[in-house]
Symmetry: C2
Subunit: 342 residues, 2 copies
C-alpha cells in the first residue's frame, strides 16, 4: 500500500502508460490535455501521494520562489517585528523565507550574502550591520540579477532600493513637546558614528532645535557604542556637565534602559530631574513605572512590509525581463511620537 518510494511524474506515467510530459501537462492543467486524461492523472497522483519536487523545479526554472532576509539580530524586537512583516507578506504570495542574522558582523553579513547567492534566492532584504560601510559584497548580486532592497539600516547611496524610516517627523513632535513642557536644554545621546542612523539623528536633532529656536550646546551631545558600559558613561557625561540638560533624546530604548538605571543610581528622579524621549524598539514602556515622556515609533513591521512589497515588484520586473527602467524604489516611512504621559 504505502509505497515508501517517493513518487515522480515518471511513475504516474508508467502506471497509466502515457508519457511523462502528458502527466506534467495534466498536473499543471494544461488546456491541451483531454479532460479524461487529466482526471485519470490526478487520480493516480492522489493515490500515489505525488507531490512536486520543488528542488527539481527550482533548478529547472532557475527560480527558487525564495527570498532571503538578513537582519542583525533576530532576538531584537525591532527586527523580529520586521521579520514578521516580511514573512506575512511573502507567505501571501506563496514565497518561502530564509533567514540570516549577521549579529552585526560584517564578516557574517558577507558570508550570508554569498550563501544566499549560491542558493539562488529570488531576492534579498537587508538591514545592515552596525559597521557595514562597504558595498562590494552587494555588487556581486547584480551578476545574478538578484534584486536587493534595504530597510531601516540602509547604505548611504542613492542608487539603491530602500525603505527607511524618517526620524524627522517624530523628532520634531518630540522637541516641540519638550519645549511645550518648558525644557530649554535638550541633550542627545547618540549612537556610533558609523551608523547612518546616528548622523541622521544628529542632523534632525539640530534642525529641530533650530526650528524651535533653542540653543545648541555641543557638550550635551554625546554618543555611545551601544554597549551597556558605554551607555552608562554617556549618561554620566551629561550629568557631569555644569549645565545639565533637563531633557534628553536617546538613541534607542536599550540605551535608555541603561540611562534610567544610571539615573537611579545617582538618586535622580526620571521625568523630574531629567526627562527622556527615546527611539522605540520595545513595546513595553506602557507597563513600566519609569518610562520616557514619549517614544518615537519607527514602525518596523510596516517598513519591512513595504520593503518586501518593493522586492516583489523587482522580482516581477526581472521575470518580465524589462531591463530598461533603472528606477529606484525608495520609500520613507514617517516616524511618530507616541506619548506615555496620559
Amino acid at each position: 500500500m504505502e509505497n515508501n518510494k517517493i513518487p515522480t511524474i515518471k511513475e504516474i506515467a508508467k502506471k497509466l502508460n502515457i508519457s511523462p510530459s502528458t502527466v506534467s501537462r495534466a498536473l499543471n492543467h494544461h488546456k491541451s490535455i483531454g479532460a479524461v486524461t487529466t482526471m485519470r492523472v490526478h487520480k493516480v497522483a492522489q493515490e500515489l501521494g505525488y507531490e512536486v519536487n520543488k528542488s527539481a523545479l527550482f533548478f529547472k526554472q532557475q527560480k527558487t520562489h525564495t527570498i532571503g532576509v538578513i537582519i542583525p539580530n533576530l532576538a531584537e524586537p525591532f527586527f523580529s517585528s520586521a521579520l514578521t512583516g516580511v514573512e506575512d507578506f511573502a507567505d501571501n504570495l506563496n514565497y518561502t523565507v530564509i533567514i540570516g542574522q549577521s549579529l552585526d558582523s560584517l564578516e557574517r553579513e558577507k558570508r550570508i550574502i554569498d550563501n544566499m547567492k549560491n542558493h539562488r534566492v529570488d531576492g534579498i532584504l537587508v538591514s545592515l550591520t552596525k559597521d557595514t560601510s562597504t558595498y562590494d559584497h552587494f555588487e556581486s548580486l547584480k551578476k545574478y540579477k538578484i534584486p536587493i532592497v534595504f530597510f531601516d539600516r540602509v547604505p548611504k547611496r542613492k542608487d539603491i532600493h530602500y525603505v527607511a524610516g524618517n526620524l524627522y517627523s517624530g523628532m520634531l513632535q518630540s522637541v516641540t513637546k519638550l519645549c511645550d513642557l518648558g525644557h530649554r536644554k535638550i541633550g542627545l545621546i547618540n549612537g556610533p558614528a558609523n551608523l547612518a542612523a546616528t548622523l541622521q539623528r544628529l542632523e534632525i536633532y539640530l534642525k529641530c532645535l533650530r526650528i524651535k529656536s533653542l540653543d545648541v550646546d555641543y557638550d550635551s551631545i554625546v554618543s555611545t557604542s551601544l554597549t551597556k558600559e558605554d551607555n552608562k558613561n554617556a549618561m554620566l557625561q551629561l550629568l557631569r556637565l555644569e549645565e545639565k540638560p533637563t531633557a534628553v533624546i536617546v538613541f534607542n530604548d536599550y540605551v535608555l534602559l541603561d540611562c534610567i538605571t544610571t539615573i537611579k543610581a545617582e538618586n535622580l528622579i526620571v521625568n523630574k530631574d531629567i526627562s527622556f524621549i527615546s527611539f522605540a524598539n520595545l513595546p513595553l514602556w506602557e507597563y513600566m513605572d519609569t518610562m520616557p515622556i514619549a517614544s518615537i515609533e519607527q514602525f518596523p513591521y510596516e517598513q519591512a512590509s513595504k520593503a518586501t512589497e518593493f522586492l516583489f515588484k523587482l522580482i516581477e520586473e526581472r521575470n518580465s525581463a524589462k531591463e530598461g527602467n533603472a528606477e529606484y524604489l525608495q520609500c520613507i516611512i514617517d516616524s511618530e511620537m507616541i506619548s506615555y504621559t496620559s
Copy 2:
C-alpha cells in the same frame, strides 16, 4: 571584462580545454587531481567569479542543506529566542534555515508542512499550534524521510523526537521560596484550558503545594484567556476573595504585566501587599522598578538548540542509512527559578 553571464563549470572547462568533471573535482579538492590542474582551475574560477549553483546541487544530491522551523509567532520573544537558537546552531553547520509561522492556526501549520515537504528540506523543527491535536500532517513526512523534532509545545505521544521544558523544577523552587518568605496562601493565575501548558501548570502547582503541605484553595486558582482585559479580571477576581492570596504564581510575564498594572490601580504595593512569581517570556524585569520576586525561566534558546542538535543527529543518521535504530531522541530541560530580589 565583467561578463554578465553566470559562469558554470562548463565555461571553466571550455576555457581550459578540459572536461567538466575534472573541473568539478578540482573545485572540490578531489585528491586524484593534479596540483597544477587544480590550481589552474581555481585560477580561472576566480577570474570568472564562479560560484556553485546550490540549486543544482540540491537537486542532484537530493539534499537541500536546509531545515525548516515552524513556530506559532515570530514576534514573541520566547519564540524569537528559540529561532535564534536554531539559527546559531544551523549556521555553524552551514545549514540554511527557512521559517514559517503558524500564527496558531492549524490550517497554516499544515500548509507550511506541505510547503517544506515539497521544498525537500532535510529536517523540520516544530513548536505546535495552540490547538494542534491531530498528528496526520506530520505522518506524511515519513515518506520523504524528513526527520522532525518538536520543541516546547510538543504532541502528547511517545513515538516522537522532542525537547520539552519541565516546569516542575522551577515551580518547586518558587513555591519553596514563597514558603520560606512566609507565604501560606499562594494563588495561581493560569492560562486557557485548551493549552497543554495550562493543565501542566495546574498539576505541578498542586503537586508543589502538596509537597510543601500547603492548603489548596480552589477559589484562588483562576484563569485568563490571555487578553489584556481578561488578565485584569483574573487579578481582580483574586483581590476580591475574602481570603486574598499573599502571593500569586502567574501564567507568564505578559499576564503579570497586566496584573501589576491592575494592582497599582487598586493602590496596592507589589511585593508587599502581594508577591508574584511568573513564567518568563521577557528578559526585561531587571530594568523595571516593579518586578516579581522571581521568574521561572524555561530557556527557549537552549531548548531550541538542543532540538536542533537532535535534528542534525537524525539527519546524519538518515544519511548514513542506518535504518535499524528506532530510538526516540527525547530531552527535558529543567526550568529554573531566577530571583530578582538581590
